[in-house]
Amino acid sequence: MAERILSLIIVGILQGGVYGLLAMGLSLQYGVCRVLNITHGEFVMLGAVLTYMLHIGFDVNPLLAPVIIGPLLFGLGFLLQATLFRTLKAWAPSPAAFEGNALLAAFGVLYIIEHFARITWGGKLMPSYYLNDVVSFLGMQFVKNQFVTFAIALALGVAVYLFLSRSRMGRAIRATAEDAGTAGLMGVNTNMTLASSFGLGALLAGIGGTLVSTKIAVSTGMGFPNTVIALIVVVLGGLGSIPGSFVAGILIGIVSLLVAGLWEPILTVPVYYAMLMVLLLVRPTGILGKK
């Protein structure tokens, strides 16, 4: 029993890395652009489905697929911010009104992407497993891709963190998030910065989709549940906090595996909700959130 719990926890941590990656992009988009991007899961879906297409159709290694998919999704996210959300921001009477309008516009975009994908690719399951052979580790059985996806997610998480905290562009992004007007006066091209951060969020979602596609059969309807998980992880970790997203992702990963493995697979989302409720009552800023 102890060994079973230990193995569930390890798999949960590995699984949580991907959740952290999904949440990170969302957190970045909300933290910088003030857009609660509920289309995030649809970008995950696009990443996953395109990986499947490249893998099955053109025999591209799924782990190399982001080289092609990444720029595509970055461009899509970039365009969304540079056209739709930028216009909404310019026309909104107040920041609060902008957040509400942007949310509703994102809700519309969600349906556009989802049903566009459904028309193009249908609703069938698309299995494109990769590296799914079993290995023994410390006397327990694991699937290889769990380690690989975790390593990639962690590496990307660290890279994005370093990019935001150390690089010149990262400093511009943080300055814009803090106060776009003043950042503009300091010579930051804020429109470019906002669009780039939104694109970066979409890119991270796309890579998340690629990682998911190595583990489970994907479909065009997978966006919505992924958005829900990403949103819950973001709130748990603290809105706008990148390390917080990662910690909360791992926490959610462990909880989901323990609930599914020891108790009841259908009840994972209600358990997330219970956690969310406790958190909002006790510490609304999230695990690593400021203020």
């Binding site: 216009t87 509703l104 516009a105 809700f107 519309g108 459904r118 973001v234 209600p270 609304p284």
Partner: protein, 329 residues
């Protein structure tokens, strides 16, 4: 007699007359049409309640609830579970009450905080409800889905009609009351509203719960025409999207905006959805984005715009008429 002047002086009278005509038309509707038209009108009325009650809370305060489907589905399941035990009209009240209490709990946890937490919380609520119901059905009741005995079209139609009248009247009165003003000031600037002595949390929670009451009651009335429901049918994101879309399309500033949106798109939905579901949803998504971008006040926002453009023409005509009268005397 100048028609434009008659309209502007007797506006209230005309409005009441128009409303009475509509009410008479709807009450007598089943007498001279086929059953399919009655069902169509029932669906339109369902969307009217959902859109109007969504706009009551989210349209005025700016706190975007993305979960009308959760409360609607709660009503459907209340009906499925209680249909054998209680009379239909009692279940409508119970379904509304269940949604009211559920919304109260959600509001108490999330509405103390910034709007973003509320939105995130409501977004996944549909999955939350689906999983809870699936768990109860498979593990405790040992069955999958529920059958609901059909009730004749006219009973459902009149029940729905009464609910629409009650809802629209209640929401009209709420909007005119102190609470309506409080909601608007919360939407404008919540901090300022608080400083003016409005108990913002209590107002938000109460109005959110009231709007959910109507959604739950609608779910009960909508349930019999589904005949069979399971968790995925009852709690479908579709019923979250449509009312929001309709309210935005019609315009959330006044009460008739969502009603017009619901009637137009309820009709389109009934006629187009079956064959081309995905194209239909794709088109709705595009229209939604376009409306938010170009018509922030929805179709109702067009009226003052047109008035200001046509106003010049009308007053010119009127002046012309006056000049003619002057010349005659």
């Amino acid at each position: 007699m100048d028609i434009t002047r008659f309209i502007s002086t007797h506006r209230k009278l005309l409005l009441v007359g128009f409303l009475v005509l509509i009410l008479i038309f709807i009450t007598t509707f089943p007498l001279y049409t086929q059953a399919s038209h009655v069902r169509l009108l029932t669906t339109l009325l369902i969307y009217v309640v959902l859109a109007v009650s969504w706009a009551l809370f989210s349209g005025t305060t700016g706190y975007m609830s993305l979960a009308p489907a959760a409360f609607f589905g709660l009503g459907i399941y209340t009906m499925a579970l209680l249909q054998k035990e209680l009379p239909f009209f009692l279940i409508i009240a119970i379904g509304g009450l269940a949604a009211f209490i559920f919304a109260l709990l959600i509001g108490l946890v999330t509405l103390r905080l910034r709007g973003i937490y509320f939105t995130i919380f409501t977004f996944g609520l549909v999955i939350f409800m689906t999983e809870i119901i699936q768990y109860l059905e498979t593990r405790l009741w040992g069955q999958h889905g529920q059958h609901i005995d059909p009730i004749d079209n006219e009973t459902i139609f009149y029940a729905m009609f009464v609910l629409v009248v009650v809802t629209v009247l209640a929401i009209y009165l709420i909007r005119r009351s102190r609470y309506g003003l409080a909601l608007l000031s919360i939407g404008g600037n919540e901090e300022a509203a608080e400083h003016m002595g409005i108990n913002t949390t209590r107002t938000k929670v109460l109005i959110f719960a009231i709007s959910s009451f109507f959604m739950g009651a609608t779910g009960v009335i909508a349930a019999p025409s589904l005949v069979y429901v399971n968790a995925n049918i009852a709690f479908s994101t579709y019923y979250s999207f449509m009312p929001i879309f309709m309210a935005i399309f019609g315009g959330m500033g006044q009460i008739h905006g969502p009603i017009i949106g619901a009637v137009i798109f309820g009709y389109l939905e009934k006629t187009l959805r079956a064959q081309l579901f995905s194209y239909f949803m794709l088109g709705f998504g595009i229209i939604m984005v376009a409306v938010i971008l170009f018509l922030p006040n929805g179709m109702m926002g067009l009226v003052p715009m047109l008035q200001s453009k046509l106003g010049g023409v009308i007053s010119k005509i009127r002046k012309g008429g006056q000049a003619e009268q002057h010349a005659n005397t």
